[in-house]
């Protein structure tokens, strides 16, 4: 893939090459390190300290983590947020990705007309700001406006309607589904691109072998895009455990009702910056951020070393 280095470059005096590298790489590496890597490390370091009201920081090792995970006052909201985040992620994996795969499968059928139109339209919500999406759906689902209720009534399912956003046991699910609605375009596009990569001759051979379109999708196309599905899954994981915007813009920092829609992102925000009755606690906030980072790191490592290795079998 990478071509061998040009002879002219290789014969350049070392000092000159170093100067060039600094010029070209310097700014990028500097900004990246300063605002991406360093803050992360600083946060992790901060999590091992505790601060008192006068601003003095004392090193306490892993005490913050113990508190976060075990102490009655802290751990309940933490585990609640972590559990909710897991549900949030599961909904995406179980709803967003299968729908994305199905849509990609439909769009990649040979000879389908209006492909471009469908692609453009279905991808549209992804372009919108989460704030817009959250709020719009809030209005649509609101019992005050009655649009959702009316829609359900018109198909005879009026009894199903409830103010889902406001009820503790449905709020999180509703928000997760709204997020799915918005972001389904991404797995759809990525998997669609991967499906396009499958040579036509392979589907021709399958047709000659006697497979119908549905079977071709499940036995031939799907296995061959598993690497992409894997990538989509890990991106979903990272994105979900980082999520904040939707919950915050619809439910505010308190992630109601009754913290039912609290996820790690909102928990982190509240812990660090404080909100209403809660005072901001930078060190505990740092601890929450570190835990979030570790969760994501574990997930990514698991993926890279376990899943991706198995998926190599499916490359061409």
């Amino acid at each position: 893939m990478a071509e061998p280095v040009s002879q002219l470059v290789a014969s350049m005096p070392r000092a000159r090459m170093l100067a060039l590298m600094t010029l070209f790489l310097g700014p990028a590496v500097a900004i990246y390190t300063l605002f991406s890597i360093y803050p992360l490390i600083a946060t992790m370091t901060l999590s091992t300290y505790t601060s008192d009201p006068s601003g003095v920081f004392t090193f306490v090792g892993l005490a913050n983590f113990v508190t976060l995970l075990g102490d009655a006052v802290w751990s309940r909201p933490f585990w609640n947020a972590a559990y909710n985040n897991l549900i949030f992620f599961c909904v995406h994996m179980l709803v967003q990705n299968p729908i994305g795969i199905a849509l990609a499968g439909l769009l990649s059928l040979p000879g389908l007309k209006l492909k471009g139109f469908y692609r453009t339209v279905i991808f549209l919500p992804t372009m919108l700001s989460v704030v817009i999406v959250g709020f719009s759906w809030n209005l649509i689902l609101s019992p005050l406006w009655g649009v959702a209720e009316g829609a359900l009534k018109s198909v005879g399912l009026g009894a199903w309607f409830a103010p889902w956003m406001g009820l503790p046991h449905t709020a999180l699910l509703t928000l997760a589904l709204i997020s799915v609605w918005q972001f389904v375009g991404i797995p759809m596009m990525l998997i669609y691109a991967a499906l396009l990569n499958i040579p036509d001759e392979l589907t021709d051979a399958a047709r000659v072998d006697g497979l119908g379109q549905l079977r071709i999708f499940f036995h031939i196309k799907l296995p061959l895009v598993l690497p992409t599905i894997g990538m989509v899954s890990i991106l979903t994981f990272v994105g979900n455990f980082n999520a904040f915007d939707l919950i915050y813009s619809v439910k505010g920092a308190l992630a109601g009702p009754n913290f039912a829609s609290d996820i790690l992102g909102t928990f982190f925000y509240r812990t660090f910056f404080g909100f209403q009755l809660q005072v901001g606690n930078p060190t505990m906030g740092a601890a929450v951020a570190t835990v979030m980072f570790l969760i994501i790191l574990v997930g990514v490592c698991l993926y890279l070393f376990v899943v991706q290795r198995r998926l190599r079998r499916y490359s061409f």
């Binding site: 002219l8 605002f35 803050p39 600083a42 946060t43 009316g150 992102g265 930078p282």
Partner: protein, 276 residues
């Protein structure tokens, strides 16, 4: 034959159904933003006509908030960040591909980690840094953060494009004695034009729509971005349905317009980057 047509009709039905689901809510919001309050509640699904048409919500948005200022802020932040991400990213991608040292691969890996690392988690330290540097509550702070956020992905994508530039092209200029910096700016950079679409997709949208960093790094009204501005306006006027719908529509329409105009390039950019 007939069976084939039936199957094709079924596929289209499914796709149309989902398209309606995708676009419906947006249409609903925009449509109703142009209606009087009574019409919004009375007949939400109908198109605004002469009796129900009203711009009252829009007036409120313009008068009660600095929507134009927010829009301008977003534009500045997004465009400057995108430009820097492209420029610095291209330079870095070029250096990593052309000038190879022992530690070049390690450096590439270091930069690639950023794709997975959630920069938000370092917000604690970022805020502290910005305060100390006096950059708190400035657009510059946002720009720096977004550039840091966008560089890993952009370097990754641009590296692929740089590798595809034929080596002969890179050497020919050297044989002519052209200095390296000029080679980059006048030979390589123009060839990276197709990459702009791909990088743009992955960079512009997350920056424009971001809520977190404007929320954390900007406190005064004059530095708010459109996303933050809309969010706060919505929170404030939550019972004023006209204004709320108008604000939402104003945030929706520019994006939709740009999206429709550039949809082909955007989607091509997304799929090109994904294939890598």
């Amino acid at each position: 034959m007939f069976e084939r047509q039936l199957k094709s009709a079924g596929v289209h039905l499914l796709l149309i159904a989902y398209s309606c689901l995708a676009v419906g809510p947006i249409l609903l919001v925009v449509m109703n933003s142009f209606k009087k309050r009574a019409a919004i509640f009375g007949s939400p699904l109908s198109f605004p006509d002469f009796t129900t048409f009203s711009l009252i919500g829009y007036n409120k948005v313009f008068s009660a908030s600095h929507v134009v200022l927010y829009f301008w802020n977003s534009l500045v932040v997004t465009l400057v960040s995108m430009s820097l991400v492209l420029l610095l990213g291209a330079m870095a991608a070029w250096a990593l591909t052309e000038y190879r040292f022992r530690w070049t691969t390690a450096l590439s890996l270091y930069l690639a980690i950023g794709i997975m690392v959630p920069i938000r988690l370092g917000s604690v330290a970022i805020l502290t840094m910005m305060r100390k540097a006096g950059l708190n509550d400035t657009l510059t702070a946002l720009i720096l953060v977004y550039v840091a956020q966008g560089l890993p992905m952009s370097i990754f994508i641009l590296s692929e494009f740089v590798q595809q530039i034929p080596r002969d092209l890179r050497d020919a200029a050297r044989c002519d004695g052209v200095p390296e910096t000029r080679i980059f700016f006048e030979v390589i950079a123009p060839l990276l034009r197709p990459a702009i679409a791909t990088v743009a997709v992955f960079t512009i949208v997350p920056i424009w729509n971001d809520l977190w960093f404007p929320l954390i790094l900007t406190s005064s009204d004059s530095t708010h971005t459109i996303t933050l501005g809309v969010q706060q306006f919505l929170g404030q006027y939550i019972t004023d349905w006209n204004s709320v719908l108008a604000a939402l529509s104003m945030a929706i329409l520019p994006i939709v317009a740009i999206y429709i105009v550039f949809s082909r390039q955007l989607i091509a950019g997304l799929t090109a980057g994904a294939v890598k």
